[in-house]
Amino acid sequence: MAQTVEPRTARGRGEAAPAPVSKIAPRRRKLPIPYLLIGPALILLAIVLLWPIVQMVWYSFTDFTTRNLLPNQPGPTWNGFSHYQTLLSDPEFWTILRNTVVVCVLMVGITMVLGTLVGLLLHKLPKWFAGFVSIGMMLAWATPALSASLVFRWLFLPERGLVNVTLDSLPDWLVGSGWLDYNWFLEPLPLFSILITVIVWQSFPFIAVSVLAGLKSIPDELYEAARMDGASAWKAFWNVTFPMLRPLFALLLILQIIWDLRVFTQLYILANSFQNKDVYLLSYYIYQQGFSASPANYGMGSAIAVVMTVMILFVTAYYLRIMIRQGETR
């Protein structure tokens, strides 16, 4: 899945030949050369990303706060599962967890459906027009998360934002009244709607382009056969396209879930403060506990982070299974 084809085919070609060689070769070069080569990268990854995972779990069982970071201060003290107990009995946490899951499901669902539909559409359009639409999608895709969030905040700004102005100019019987001053950024429902819009806007091009690439690999004969059997476009999709592209869809789904669970920058700009706990998502809650709460509650933040990591771990496990099956680890 991962590689471009040049390396891919080459690997496929090379794999068969060097395999027997490699069985002999290691005996001859028993030198630790490969370990020297991966060493620097491994050390860096261990310090920057692996060790903090261990620390995160450990901190979640302590009362770590800013005080413990000062020199000549005792380290944090163990306080067992108390953070987890607090979290589990805290309705606010459950609301945030539920919102995170719901928002993530909506983002992923809408992105996947829209992306797939656009992919199918591009496949039907003549090449020049599909290319034209793709260039437009590239712009959405390439926009940095921060710029995108700011533009959407500006579009939905009370009194002057284009969306508010436009909704206000539409007849009242159609959209209701009072849109001009409507503030989208205070309540969870409108805020999350905009958040989902930003994410979908930025993510659907990737799905569309991937699906388009997948569609091109399906032989036309299958569709002709389906048409002979009198299958409608809908049936052809579910009986030909979907089964053929199932591995692709699985991978796209996983990547999308992981990316959308992590959303932070967009919410940071759209919510623009930590005052309203109703609009928190897990990643936002973690950051707030660590760097906005006073005093900072590193222990609690870590406990929330553990919850989020466990969620991502399940998805990652599935991802690993796919990668191993596809021979990516060989």
Partner: protein, 322 residues
């Protein structure tokens, strides 16, 4: 289009192998090609395509157009789709004024470029070494290393942010080198974050170089270093460029680590952080906010044009994203 095709091609290949035509990109599309009647029937498709195009482009268009509008056309209910009196005042303010008291745009641009380019260079070097190890040698921990890379690639920075921050706080105390509040800590984190994807990408490119070439050079008397520079490097270079551009975009857009690491050291801010700070302070100056957003976007757009073909394949490995 080819690279994109190949990507999902690999996923699909297992199932599609039986198919007669595997690379079907040049085959004429089935319906909707001939005759005015057909063209009429395909009109809704064109309209849908146009809608997708407009939906994708409009926010970007609105960002740029706002940046060129004079203040009077921004502070009004009558929003127009084109500036009546286009102006460069916002760009002038962003480029020549002080975005944050005492610091101007060019210094932030310098910070961003420094940390991005330095981390890309370090990452390219380290990942090339590791990729050679993974592609050219069979060693005991090889599979474990690859699985580790695949897993780390999925590690959410947003969850680790607290422990990474504390980790770097403690590293600074132990080493005596201050890693927070300046670009050095960011440099280390950005280098590490892009390593998994760049190693996994480069591994394929290294493996694609025929071993016979290297052996032939060795027989002609080239040492391992010469073989590396004269044989391997030129052939791996395109992959190195692609991987580096991914790493560049990731580091260029990165926000949460910069936010935590730089804290109040405003003179060290990277561009995304500057923009967010400016928005927090001058939240109503939409003209200059949009001008700055446009400037932040331009380098990424340019690089996207370069790697457009490899974008999908690389992204499926989880590279560039917010």
């Amino acid at each position: 289009m080819t690279a994109i095709e190949q990507t999902s091609g690999t996923a699909v290949r297992e199932r599609a192998t039986g198919g007669a035509g595997s690379g079907g990109s040049d085959r004429p599309r089935r319906v909707y090609r001939r005759g005015p009647l057909r063209r009429m029937r395909s009109l809704p498709l064109y309209l849908a395509g146009l809608a997708v195009f407009l939906f994708s482009v409009f926010p970007v268009y609105w960002m740029i157009i706002t940046a060129f509008k004079p203040v009077g056309e921004i502070f009004t209910r009558d929003q127009t789709f084109f500036p009546n009196a286009p102006t460069l005042e916002h760009f002038d303010r962003v480029l020549n004024g002080n975005l944050i008291p005492g610091v101007n745009f060019w210094e932030f641009l310098g910070n961003s470029l420094l940390v991005t380019i330095a981390s890309v260079a370090m990452g390219a070097f380290l990942s090339l070494l590791a990729a050679v190890a993974v592609a050219r040698f069979r060693f005991r921990l090889r599979t474990a290393f690859i699985i580790l890379l695949l897993m780390i690639q999925m590690v959410p920075m947003e969850a680790l942010i607290i422990s990474i921050f504390i980790n770097f706080r403690q590293l600074s105390d132990v080493s005596g080198v201050e890693l927070l509040g300046n670009l050095s800590g960011l440099l280390i984190v950005y280098t590490a974050v892009s390593l998994p994807i760049t190693i996994l990408m480069l591994r394929g490119f290294v493996a694609a170089v025929p071993k016979e070439l290297e052996e032939a050079a060795a027989i002609d008397g080239a040492g391992p270093w010469t073989v590396f520079w004269r044989i391997l490097m030129p052939l791996v270079a395109p992959g190195l460029v692609a991987a580096s551009i991914f790493a560049f975009i990731t580091a260029w857009n990165e926000f949460i680590v910069a936010l935590t690491f730089l804290g109040r050291s405003t003179e060290e801010y990277t561009l995304p952080l500057t923009l967010s700070y400016y928005f927090g302070r001058f939240g109503t100056e939409w003209g200059s906010i949009m001008a700055a957003s446009t400037l932040l976007t331009i380098p990424v757009m340019i690089f996207f044009l370069f790697v457009q073909r490899r974008m999908v394949s690389g992204l499926t490995m989880g590279a560039v994203k917010g």
